[in-house]
């Protein structure tokens, strides 16, 4: 029984040690196959740079096929090839953390505020600082990107990643299963706050016993008027703050009232009793057995959702559009600190963000195999598209991708309008440097893991648990962290005249 047990930490250390050995051999093997696959044509004095690119998403069946096409194109354009490696969403952060720490050879990697944390890893030295590279090889990027992206993704005054040109602000919407809305003739336009949702949930609960009225997962968090210093940690400033005072979320009346509502919903059965351990409600979406949930939107998102579920989805806003740090850093590609070809990597990223041919090849695959063009910048998926279905937002400039069949022609105009409509959140541009309080943060994170999901989903009674959690957060050193945030924030305000 116990002989087979190994502590996780030991396995990890082992892994770190062995990857060193393995990676040394692995890179040699990689070089071999790459030259075999793409060598020959395109005589040039300079050897072709072979870039290794880790990006997020479900590994695709036809990736190797498309990758070969991409390499033909990039070899001709910038004398470089890429080896695209995909890691699934759920594993990406952990695997990248281990690989970066062990010095696995790589050139380009996906990073964001929500996966393989951009700011933290930039500070730890995982990424190369790209200010100069952008100047030299990334002029195209600088021209196409909304300047707010590069400005907002600076860490301590430097850029470490190329953000994807996409929607800039974040706006939360309530999504509704339109079939149920129509069936019961519900008025969704009057919905905005969580309380205003209640009569609708009640109707559904009473008439549709099989349907989960409010489909949530354990990461859910009620919408509250805060800009958080670190996502999902209880330190924030009010969105309309004037004095930039950092508050402890657990001591605000907003949290109490939001959680009281959640608790009410939970007890009324509007939320699944398993919500605190539920990581995905994909099955509900597939079967249509849900009524509403909350999501971040972008222009024409209803079309995307409806197309992907196969039945109509409608939305109504749950809040205003704000530009947060985390929404600016929603999708980025960074150059690894140990990259052997940083200049070529930047050239590649520049091409990816400005050249529609490459961008669409990476996104949609091979013309004639995975998609066909039905207009200047419009395309239609072919049946084989299911073998190459990439997460579009993660791969670079969205605004040069081809439109889908039923997209309106002014789609990208709408994106630009949406980007301009966003209100700057108070902490936009401020990145907390956690090095001085990293021990407290680690302890605080552990407390968060214990209480967060069950509180935020209404699984436990907020009347007793808010106080319990707050007490433990304080014991873990939350006040020290908040004091440190406040002093850094004050310094930042003074420097930026906020």
């Amino acid at each position: 029984m116990s002989r087979k047990r190994k502590s996780f930490s030991l396995v990890l250390t082992t892994l770190l040690a062995t990857t060193l050995v393995v990676s040394a051999c692995g890179s040699k093997a990689d070089n071999g196959t790459n030259t075999a696959g793409s060598g020959g044509e395109g005589a040039s004095n300079e050897p072709t740079a072979e870039l290794i690119w880790y990006t997020i998403g479900v590994p695709q069946k036809d990736l190797a096929l498309v990758n070969e096409e991409i390499n033909k194109y990039t070899k001709e354009k910038i004398n470089a090839t890429v080896d695209i490696k995909m890691i699934d969403f759920g594993d990406y952060t952990q695997k990248m953390q281990v690989m970066a720490a062990s010095g696995e050879p790589m050139d380009i990697m996906f990073t964001a505020s929500w996966a393989f944390d951009y700011v933290q890893n930039a500070r730890k030295g995982a990424f190369m600082e790209i200010d100069e590279l952008l100047e030299k090889h990334g002029q195209g990027i600088k021209e196409t990107l909304d300047p707010a992206f590069l400005e907002g993704s600076k860490v301590d005054g430097h850029n470490y990643g190329v953000p994807a040109n996409k929607e800039l602000p974040a706006q939360e919407v309530w999504r509704f299963n339109d079939e149920l809305v129509k069936k019961y003739n519900l008025d969704i336009k009057s919905v905005r706050s969580m309380e205003s949702l209640e009569p609708l949930l009640k109707t559904i609960k009473e008439n549709e016993p099989d349907v989960t009225p409010l489909a949530l997962v354990k990461d859910f968090m009620p919408l509250m008027p805060f800009d958080y210093v670190i996502e999902k940690l209880p330190m924030a400033v009010y969105l309309d703050t004037k004095d930039y005072k950092v508050v402890n979320l657990f001591e605000t009346p907003e949290l109490k009232s939001a959680l009281d509502t959640m608790r009410k919903f939970y007890q009324a059965g509007y939320i699944s009793p398993e919500v605190a351990t539920t990581t995905s409600v994909e099955d509900l979406y597939k079967s249509g057995k849900w009524f509403t949930d909350r999501a971040s939107t972008q222009p024409l998102a209803e079309n995307l959702w409806s197309a992907s579920y196969g039945y109509p989805v409608t939305t109504t806003p749950a809040g205003d559009a704000y530009t947060f740090n985390w929404s600016v850093m929603g999708s980025m590609q960074a150059i690894s600190a140990n990259s052997e070809h940083p200049e070529k990597a930047m050239e590649f990223l520049n091409l990816l963000n400005t050249d529609p041919v490459l961008r669409n090849m990476v996104d949609s695959g091979i013309e004639g195999t995975h998609y066909e063009k039905i207009g200047d910048n419009k395309m239609k998926n072919l049946p084989d598209a299911k073998n190459y279905d990439m997460p579009t937002f993660s791969l670079g400039n969205l605004l040069i991708t081809y439109l889908n069949e039923n997209d309106p022609d002014n789609k990208w105009e709408l994106f630009k309008e949406f980007n301009e409509s966003g209100i700057d959140a108070p902490l936009l541009g401020f990145n907390f440097d956690a090095t001085k309080v990293s021990k407290e943060i680690a302890a605080v994170q552990n407390v968060k893991e214990e209480y967060w999901s069950s509180l935020m989903t209404g699984t436990v009674d907020p009347a007793t648990y808010i106080a319990k959690a707050n007490e433990k957060f304080k014991a873990a050193g939350l006040d020290t962290v908040i004091a440190e945030v406040q002093s850094q924030l004050d310094a930042w305000r003074a420097a930026n005249n906020k």
Binding site: R5, L16, T18, T93, S272, T277, K439, N446, V460
Partner: protein
Amino acid sequence: MKMVGGFLKDVVKNKVFLLMVLPGALWFLFFSYIPMFGTVIAFKEYRFSRDGFWASIVNSDWVGFDNFKFLFSTNDAYIITRNTLLYNIAFIVLGLVLSVVMAVVLSELVNKKLAKVYQTGMFLPYFLSWVIVGYFAFSFLSSQRGMLNQVFAYFGWEPVQWYSDPKFWPYILILVILWKAVGYNSVVYLASIMGIDKSLYEAAMIDGANKWQQIRSITIPMLSPIITIMTLLAVGKIFYADFGLFYQVPRDSGTLYSVTNVIDTYVYRGLKTTGEIGMSTAAGLYQSLVGFILVITSNAIVRKYNKDGALF
């Protein structure tokens, strides 16, 4: 020179045995001894360096015992140490008793074919992955569709929110691990029962001893050396919790942490959320150190009372 010669002669003489030990020795070298150097990370603030893993270790700053602080800043260190120890003690004691009982029962079954069927049936859960066992448990405990709550509903009882009520979990966890491990362990005891000299039983029968007396006076005493060794080995790992059991079976439910958080899950969550390798290594080192002390002490105690039973 003479010593080297003697050593070489020894090697040649025992070459077959040494060859047999080699794979195991290599395994330990690569997966246990070499990674031990990684322990220094516990005393460093790990930062990436361009030149790879070793350079990162060398270039990171020394921070002394800073990495250990987060363990002890809340009462978490107490809770995870307590949980790890108490659960393992329960597993060792109950596992030992049940396994020996099972082994004795199996060995006494007259129908040997049936005994094999039982043995295989009990053995099977050992090969299931914890993820699957976690879903087995979920099919019983799910509050909406779980079997238990449906039975409760049939009798008109209140359904129980199993995954948010900590008070049941010590029993659930112990039940699950016993179900999974007893079959496997009983095989070890069964094998040594098979090795007991049959003439002892024959002599006892001639003297008029009944089954119960035979078990008490022959089987159990003959088993005691192997029981001591198995228990000692288990005590050596008393500080290592079964990660799968404590992570997968309670479905990582936050409200249950007070009774399900053990050192291994704590380290894992710490690394997952913060990515601070130094702190995770620190927690791992704390675990190894206390485990080491426990093995040495328990071995010393055994040696005092029963010199042959001790491991070293």
